[in-house]
Amino acid sequence: MQNPNFEYMRRLSADIRVETVKAISKAGAGHIGGAVSIADVLAVLYGGAMNIRPSDPDWEHRDWLVLSKGHAGPGLYAALALTGYFPMDWLDTVNKPGTRLPSHCDMKRTPGIDMTTGSLGQGLSAAVGIALGNRINGIESYVYCIVGDGEINEGQIWEAAQTASHNKIDNLILFVDWNKKQLDGKLEDVNDPIDIAGKFEAFGFEAQTVKGYDVEEIYSAIERAKKVKGKPSVIVLDTLKGLGICFAENAVTCHFMAVDEKMEKEAIDVIEKRYEQGAYPGGESRK
């Protein structure tokens, strides 16, 4: 993209959080923490970084996104609805009987979902396969993949990383949602992943770590990653689980929470207040 519209991306990230909390509130409960910690990277990707056609989700030359942490589906559904893949009122149906928006991403049900995920650890392998398939077909598009920081407990992630590196897949850009918590608690208390960027570097990736809630930093990191040739890139998104949703930020664990209308309203008020103040989604001043 020639001229990134960071103001639009900031507004989009606020809208993704608003629509995600509304959808989960309508459903009564959901994977709120990890759905909103990726709101900013989704806003960058769908707000300009990706080459996509929302009216033609299966366009052969599109950029792809594999959301390997499939439980963050509602965050991605919000981004897809807000950018025109399907009507906004679909978001009211998340997890309802017969919905096209199940909690975990399902490519058979949802326009714009490029890969079915939900069993953690599998998406990066699929992203590698998509990139290899596109290479055979002479399609020069980017394949993006988002994995969770807990998800990289899974050994298959490292198998796929090795394969991406071995095959010199430089059109693969991986994001790690380093939000510091997995379901049972803090990463270091469950099974410490130690140095995430360093591990990917050891596996042959070009690694960057950026503020995971700063759309300009994320966008710049993608631009740098695109210039890397002969190896895949990883961008570690330094953020917090539940970031931007006040009740989730303050919870000890926020992987899956019951959300009612009062919590929804309070959360939206805080999102809008921080946005109007020009602060980061977590309330931190941009200065």
Partner: protein, 319 residues
């Protein structure tokens, strides 16, 4: 379908017939790719890799990743064939085959080599008596076991044409010839190799030859055995099972697999829901495999024609 004039041991290995067919299909269809996990030479895929290096990916000893990469290749429009030994092609990758391939609605072909006792000297860790059970539990997945090289050459092109997850059991080495080369073999349609009136033997894979041998022995005692090659274990040819029960009133199944949740279970399900008749199952009796030459293992797990013959006589006595 035409049965071969003799059932001698073939001189062409199953894996050779497989790769020749895959190369022939690969020449016609540029979307065919192979994904391998450090068993190219064992599985006989090396010739495909040499001819189509840009359409072959060796992920090393990473079966789960290999199936996941295959899923991604399918999402990008390719037709991936993933090859490894049956134990790894089923139980090691079960969740990837289930979620990333079948549940995702993708088009991935999984080939499991050396099923059951054909793992021989690799022993119990490598002896898949459970791969049919696992793969047939995946909704929409088809399960096929080849019984000779003619079948390989007739069935692989149909696998290429079919969109979805197909699991193929492929013994790597030579099997006894079952079919004449002019045979038409259709996935999903059982082959009646021999008509009979007293009992039906329904077999798959290397047990087909054992079933034919047992039928010959039974004939010498005046017992008329129908023999069916149920090479498509899923979707099962229910009509053939029902017809066999009606015609002969007794069934013996024979498989190089645990009797639990394999061919015998699949046939039993059809019988009890439609036409209950006495039935016996030949196969591993809920046991682990063990190391040894194939002829020893055939005896050890009671997979020989002798056991089929004995079970046939027993099931007839239960009518």
């Amino acid at each position: 379908m035409r049965i071969a004039s003799n059932h001698d041991l073939e001189t062409v290995e199953m894996r050779k017939a497989f790769v020749e067919t895959l190369i022939q299909e690969g020449n016609k269809n540029s979307r065919i790719v192979t994904v391998n996990s450090d068993l190219c030479s064992s599985m006989g895929i090396t010739d495909f890799v040499k001819i189509f290096p840009d359409r072959s990916f060796n992920v090393g000893i990473q079966e789960s990743n290999g199936v996941g990469v295959s899923a991604g290749l399918s999402a990008a429009g390719m037709i991936p064939f993933f090859h490894t030994f049956a134990v790894f092609a089923s139980r090691r990758v079960f969740d990837q085959a289930f979620v990333s391939c079948a549940y995702a609605g993708l088009n991935v072909k999984i080939v499991g080599g050396d099923p059951g006792v054909t793992a021989t000297t690799n022993g119990g860790t490598h002896m898949s008596f459970e791969d049919i059970a696992l793969m047939r539990a995946i909704p929409t997945a088809r399960v096929i076991e080849f019984s000779d090289t003619t079948m390989v050459r007739k069935v692989v092109p149909q696998v290429v044409e079919h969109y979805g997850v197909d699991y193929m059991r492929l013994m790597r080495k030579c099997l006894h010839r079952i079919y004449d080369e002019s045979s038409e073999i259709i996935v999903g349609k059982a082959n009646v190799l021999r008509e009979g009136t007293d009992v039906t033997i329904i077999a798959c894979g290397l047990e087909v030859y054992e079933a034919l041998t047992a039928a010959q022995q039974l004939e010498e005692e005046g017992i008329s055995a129908r023999v069916v090659d149920m090479f498509t274990i899923k979707p099962l040819d229910n009509e053939c099972v029902i017809e066999s029960a009606k015609k002969t009133g007794a069934i013996v199944t024979a498989e190089n697999h645990n009797i639990i949740n394999g061919l015998g279970s699949a046939v039993a399900e059809v019988l009890v829901e439609n036409i209950p008749v006495p039935m016996e199952r030949v196969g591993a009796q809920d046991e682990f495999g063990e190391v040894g030459p194939q002829n020893y293992l055939m005896e050890r797990f009671n997979l020989t024609s002798k056991t089929i013959y004995e079970k046939a006589k027993r099931v007839i006595s239960r009518k």
